[in-house]
Amino acid sequence: MPMIVAAVVAGLLSLAAVVYVVWPLLRPGPAPVVVEDDRLTELVGRKDAALAAIKDLEFDYYTGKLSDEDYARLDQRLRRQAIGLIQQIEKLAPESAVMDERLEAEIARLRKTRNGAGEVTPQPSRPEAVQAAASPADVATAQKPQQPAPGGAETPRFCTECGQPLQPSYKFCAHCGAPVASASPTPAPHT
């Protein structure tokens, strides 16, 4: 008798667990698919990394780990890299927004919270150094997607790896050989 009770209790617990696990599959309607732009995620990640690197470099400079020339050179390079990335994000963002209206809503929501929070530069205590690179990023994501960024029309694209300028026709960077990533057939921002 106690064995039967045990089996029933265990069976009920197991049933509850199984129902909980398969529940998401039982919902009516076709399975929604995650729309996530891999390229865009990667670019945003890279942009963040570049901004963090600029910040780090500055700190290294202030703590005496870099000579003036090295700092100037590397800082230039990182900034070019960041700007290049930001321009690519601008280019990609409108397309990915068209893919799903929800994305736009999501961006709008985030934009609101981000603007509301007001704190967008990574290290507000030393804004003058980071601002130059950080602000276009915020402009980029906060802008209407269709609008090209300031400077985006004249400035050529840059390699995301080494920051060297790229001709519109390039598929690989002439300087470092890195593939020129573009998720869209759009050749250049000013077209």
């Binding site: 064995m3 045990a6 089996a7 209790v9 265990a10 069976g11 617990l13 197991s14 667990a17 199984v18 909980y20 696990v21 398969v22 998401p24 599959l25 919902r27 309607g29 399975a31 929604p32 698919v33 995650v34 729309v35 996530e36 891999d38 865009l40 995620t41 990667e42 945003v44 990640g45 890279r46 963040d48 990394a49 690197a53 780090d56 470099l57 700190f59 290294d60 202030y62 703590t63 005496g64 780990k65 870099l66 000579s67 090295d70 590397l74 963002a93 990915s96 893919m99 799903d100 929800r102 994305l103 999501e106 985030l110 704190e119 967008v120 990574p122 290290q123 205590s125 994501t141 790896e161």
Partner: protein, 667 residues
């Protein structure tokens, strides 16, 4: 009856783990939200069922249900409640259940923390965590059922192993498990990144904190184990390079290397293959360590055949080994380094050297640990390598590591100019050299002089980094010194918390050097009232004090400690032997200890005659040992500073999620 329920829900957990794995892998591949959500639910459900099973075993232990074989074998009526609670991880089946409990808990925590993020990665992460859970559930169901019933109801249990009846032994395994098991999470993310082809910095950045926290627990667990060995085993030391210790140390080494090399990937886009390999090695070493300590394979190859769980582990390890290598090989083209190392005097070059050293130490330790097994298989003779092998090989490697630990933070990324080099290295080098010369002149000892010089150099670089960091903040934002210091931790915790961890390691290294080279000891039999001189102490025996406790008798030998020169009384200590009622043939030792910042007086009671008229002791003076435990605290504190979330990071995570849109993902 309730124990049958425990067993049955473990089976349900295993079935749901299989289902969740399929849902995770398939849902990740199809980017199907329903399947992905189902994998999340499976993670939560498995965690819930396993918690329930653990609660049932705890209930059995706390209410003395000796009809459960596990309770019968590992508890007794007279056992204090505290130890009844900890008996859950005192034996094979229970500790495997505890493993699974922590693992499923980590899985649920990782899933919950990332429920709205990393949608490409998370289904795979859930699947890998469930896969590991499945393995342990299978062990519990088929090889080590903690709910197995005895054929009769015994009157009393056989008691917990006396060596485990110690506070450190209650905490130490919990810490170790939290560290050990937690390292499955970064591995799951690595596999998720490989499977989803999302091999940019996303997984590396997410995984940093999920590695740091288990790493902290693992470090604390290892140190607590040392503390237990020091206090309980009574051989005067804290680390013997025995296989069980090495099993916990090996993944620590590779996890430490991983924590450093992911910084390089994040900053410079290099070492991608190395990073996934390192975290895989860490995970493999965790499973290997669990296997070696569970199967008895290292005491003798023959005990492996007798162990129930051995074959299961072997199959699982083969799956991990080949599964991962296959996956890595398939993804190799996507793991191309984005840049090259530009100069040998750069921080990334120093990080590379650090990784080689850690890998070298790990390899030497692995080799030494398994050498007896190989020699037995190949020649039939069991040849053990003992502590001197490990000390000779690993000692110099650790010395280099400490030097590098001092030097690396002073180098810039990419390259360091000569001028900056001079500016950074002058003071620390001078301080290190001065310390070395001073030790050499004072004690005429070469090796400790070199070792302590390296420690002083590393400590000096850390102080210099803090001073310069505070100065830099004062220049750029004009803060006061305490505010600048606080902001270094708050805004740049990764770096300045890391330095604290380094400082902890330097303190631990100092304690090791002190013990290794300056320990004094003596073996002595004293009659009541007699005394002996050791170092700068005079130690007198004043009689035996028996003391009845609930499940054992404590015999303590009172010793008075005097300053040898002035004759001043410094205090008294009571080294003890505990004789347990259930296992009188297995007495445990409690050392008598007088700790000071400079050195410990450490006495073991070996035995006594005729009610304590004479007693035999082993006495040690252990220099600087307390710094090992202080260093451990500093290390934990530093890890907390380094893993504390700070404002900037939250922003970047919000930015990353711009790229998502989930079609009616619901919750």
């Amino acid at each position: 009856m309730i124990f049958h329920i425990g067993y049955l829900i473990l089976i349900t957990a295993a079935v749901l783990a299989v289902f969740g794995m399929i849902a995770g892998f398939w849902g990740g591949r199809q980017r199907n939200v329903k399947l992905a959500l189902s994998s999340y639910h499976a993670v939560y459900a498995v965690a819930g069922l396993v918690s329930l099973a653990a609660a049932i075993l705890w209930y059995a232990l706390l209410t003395d249900r000796f009809e459960v074989a596990y309770v019968w074998n590992h508890s007794e009526r007279a056992l204090p409640v505290f130890y009844k609670f900890s008996a859950l991880w005192g034996g094979q089946a229970g500790s495997l259940l505890f493993w699974l409990l922590i693992l499923s808990g980590f899985g649920a925590a990782a899933a919950f923390a990332n429920r709205r993020r990393h949608w490409a990665l998370m289904p795979y992460v859930n699947a890998v965590m469930l896969g590991t859970s499945l393995f342990f559930a299978i062990l519990l169901i088929f090889a080590a059922n903690p709910f197995r019933l005895a054929s009769f109801v015994p009157q009393d249990g056989q008691g917990l192993n006396p060596l485990l009846q110690n506070y450190w032994m209650v905490l130490h395994p919990v810490m170790l498990y939290l560290g050990y098991v937690g390292l499955a999470v970064p591995f799951a993310f690595a596999v998720g990144a490989l499977l989803s082809k999302r091999l940019d910095n996303e997984w590396v950045r997410t995984v940093r904190r999920w590695t740091l926290i288990p790493w902290m627990f693992l470090s604390a667990g290892i140190l607590m184990g040392s503390q237990w060995a020091y206090m309980e085993l009574g051989w005067g030391g804290y680390w013997a390079w025995d296989p069980v210790e090495n099993a916990s140390f090996l993944p620590w080494l590779t996890a430490t290397a991983f924590l450093h090399s992911i910084v390089v990937q994040e900053q410079r886009g290099i070492l991608k293959v190395w990073n996934v390999t390192l975290i895989w090695m860490t995970y493999f070493l965790v499973i290997l360590g669990t296997f070696t300590t569970r199967s008895g394979v290292l005491e003798s190859v023959h005990s492996f055949a007798r162990s129930d769980v051995g074959p299961f582990f072997l199959v699982f390890m083969v799956i991990i080994l080949f599964g991962f290598l296959w996956l890595l090989f398939k993804r190799l083209p996507l793991l191309r380094d984005e840049q090259a190392i530009e100069s040998y005097t750069s921080r990334e070059a120093a990080f590379m050297a650090n990784n080689w050293l850690f890998a070298g130490i790990a390899f030497a330790t692995l080799w030494g640990t398994f050498f007896p097994m190989f020699s037995e298989i190949l020649t039939g003779d069991r040849i053990s390598v003992a502590a001197p092998f490990f000390n000779k090989v690993n000692g110099p490697l650790f010395l280099l590591l400490i030097l590098l630990m001092g030097a690396a933070p002073l180098l810039g990324w990419r390259r360091t100019s000569r001028q900056a080099f001079r500016k950074q290295f002058t003071w620390p080098t001078l301080i290190g050299a001065a310390t070395g010369v001073a030790i050499w002149l004072l004690y005429d000892a070469g090796y400790p002089a070199i070792g302590l010089a390296a420690c002083a150099f590393a400590a000096a670089t850390i102080v210099q980094e803090y001073v310069r960091g505070v100065q830099a903040r004062r220049i750029t934002s004009g803060e006061s010194i305490p505010a600048a210091m606080g902001n270094l931790w708050r805004r740049n915790g990764r770096r300045y918390g890391g330095y604290l961890v380094h400082l902890g390691i330097v303190l631990i290294a100092t304690a090791v050097i002190g013990n290794e080279f300056f320990q004094q000891n003596t073996n002595v039999t004293l009659a009541n009232g007699e005394s002996v001189t050791l170092g700068r102490y005079e130690i007198a025996y004043t009689g035996l004090e028996p003391n009845r406790k609930v499940n054992h008798i404590e015999y303590g030998a009172r010793l008075m400690i005097f300053d040898q020169k002035s004759g001043k009384t410094l205090g008294s200590i009571l080294p003890r032997r505990n004789i347990y009622d259930k296992t009188p043939e297995q007495p445990t030792s409690e050392v008598g200890l007088r700790m000071t910042l400079l050195e410990d007086v450490y006495v073991v009671l070996n035995g006594w005659e005729t009610g304590g008229s004479t007693a035999t002791f082993t006495m040690y003076v252990n220099p600087l040992t307390i710094w090992m435990w202080i260093g451990g605290l500093v290390l934990v504190l530093g890890t907390l500073v380094a893993s504390w979330p700070h404002p900037g990071r939250r922003r970047s995570e919000a930015a990353a999620s711009i790229a998502y849109a989930v079609g009616s993902a619901g919750d």
